[in-house]
């Protein structure tokens, strides 16, 4: 599925993996998270190969990983506050007052103060994503993985989520890896971009470079949207 990928994600930056559906983005993400084992090759965290980690080391590493799933993956049986508190309850020995204080701090950061007692089913899709972000960052992770965080959201809410992810990445010096096929996200927060095609790393660069590249596979993907085609045509006409 994935072939010859050699790529380093930068700390403190939003690293985007883009590509069409079926290009191998999700498989790549699952390999990085250790949910799939690659047949060959190495995935390393801070230079140390994941495969060389003992079970205990893998568990310790996972505590430093925050993950934002496509659908939010909030626990239905818990309210917003309990969802966000979950990693703290599982991995720390903090007192409840300390945990609550941290939960309120992150909920405030994602602009969701006052929603702690609501159940996931009682809040909108955008709010669910923000709760999921709060849960992902509550334990101060070093790495944040996001699987198509904008899927199912309106453009305005999608932009809010994108910007929130980028702000948190910079504020907390997190290595963020974000999978998307949404070109608006690329335009908003694509500090470093890897383009996958048929399981191969076909191109890498920045958001400025992606709109200037001559690479056919990349331009096909980028300008597959009418909007971006019109923008390019307008730019070429000097409008």
């Amino acid at each position: 599925m994935l072939k010859g990928i050699d790529y380093t994600f930068e700390r403190g930056k939003t690293n985007l993996i883009i590509g069409q559906s079926g290009s191998g983005k999700s498989v790549f993400l699952k390999c990085m998270l250790g949910l799939f084992k690659p047949d060959k090759g190495t995935i390393a965290y801070d230079g140390k190969p994941f495969s060389s980690f003992s079970d205990e080391e893998q568990r310790e590493l996972r505590k430093e990983i925050g993950m934002l799933f496509q659908g939010g993956a909030l626990f239905d049986s818990m309210n917003v506050e309990q969802n966000v508190m979950f990693p703290l309850r599982m991995f720390t020995n903090q007192r409840k007052s300390e945990m609550l204080s941290r939960v309120h701090e992150v909920l405030e950061r994602v602009n969701l103060e006052g929603t702690g007692d609501k159940m996931p089913s009682e809040i909108s899709g955008g709010m669910q994503k923000r709760v999921a972000i709060a849960r992902a960052i509550v334990n101060k992770p070093k790495y944040l993985f996001c699987d198509e965080p904008n899927s199912g959201l309106d453009p305005k809410t999608a932009t809010v989520i994108d910007n929130l992810i980028q702000e948190l990445t910079h504020e907390n010096d997190i290595t963020t890896v974000l999978i998307t096929h949404d070109m608006n996200s690329v335009l908003e927060i694509g500090e470093r971009i890897a383009f996958l095609k048929d399981g191969v790393l076909a191109w890498k660069g920045t958001k400025n470079e992606i709109f200037q590249t001559e690479d056919e596979a990349v331009t096909d993907f980028v300008y597959s949207s009418d909007l971006f085609q019109k923008v390019r045509d307008a730019q070429q006409k000097g409008m």
Binding site: L33, L35, Q58, R59, E60, L61, R62, K63, I65, M67, F69, Q70, G71, A73, L74, F75, D76, P87, R89, M90, F91, F145
Partner: protein, 233 residues
């Protein structure tokens, strides 16, 4: 799956709350239907037995004897377990299956939590309180039989009490509770397996719940046969 369930344990304080929640959902939530069914099936067993005792040489105390034996040996442990396979089993499959579909299980795994232990182990422990449900079912089944037989005028209260104590073999209770414990384990694990390993979307959650009910019932009936063969024959 069982290796994972009994593998790396979830934090004790979290596990305690999960077990209490499961006892509430799986056991306490089933008490109403179990009580209702037990009382009325016990009553029907007594009426059926009484109506079939046409030979005057057969003592009336047999009504209570038959009700007691039916309720303790088969009705409460086995019949109620089949009902529980529908109620509790479907609940377990659909709740775990929904978590699979909505990536909640993946979320647990990514966090480094043993999802099998977190989700299934508390259910198994909670189901070990299942003999308590069966105990109540036995009591209510016999109470139902007493009510129907005495109030229906088939036997006197004294005849019923005498029949109830007639040739009582305490090992039958041991047999009933031994198989109840096995059934409890089956009721927790077979539906959990179907929920945990399901693939697909919401429609498949429903299919998994149905399949889980069928397989749980099959495993219960076969286990019932084997245990009976081993312990009573």
């Amino acid at each position: 799956m069982l290796k994972g369930v009994f593998g790396r344990m979830t934090k004790a304080s979290v596990l305690r709350n999960l077990i209490l929640k499961e006892i509430n959902d799986l056991i306490m939530g089933s008490m109403g239907i179990v009580a209702f069914l037990s009382f009325f099936i016990g009553a029907v067993v007594a009426i059926q037995t009484a109506l079939n005792l046409t030979n005057p040489l057969i003592p009336k105390t047999l009504v209570a004897y038959a009700a007691r034996q039916s309720v303790i040996l088969e009705f409460s442990p086995t019949f109620i377990s089949i009902i529980m396979a529908g109620k509790v089993g479907s609940f377990i499959t659909s709740s775990i299956g929904s978590m699979r579909v909505t990536e909640q299980i993946d979320a647990l795994e990514v966090m480094g939590i043993n999802s099998k232990n977190y989700l299934i182990f508390p259910k198994i422990i909670a189901m070990f309180t299942y003999p308590f449900v069966i105990c109540i079912s036995m009591f209510l089944g016999i109470a139902g039989a007493y009510t129907a037989a005495v109030l229906g005028g088939f036997v006197t209260s004294d005849q019923f009490i005498t029949g109830l104590q007639d040739e009582f073999i305490p090992f039958h209770l041991t047999y009933a509770f031994l198989k109840t414990i096995l059934f409890a384990f089956i009721l927790a694990t077979v539906p959990a397996y179907h929920g945990y390993y399901m693939k697909g979307g919401a429609l498949e959650v429903g299919e998994a719940a149905t399949t889980s009910f069928v397989w749980t019932s099959v495993v219960l009936i076969v286990t019932n046969y084997l245990v009976t063969q081993l312990l009573l024959s």
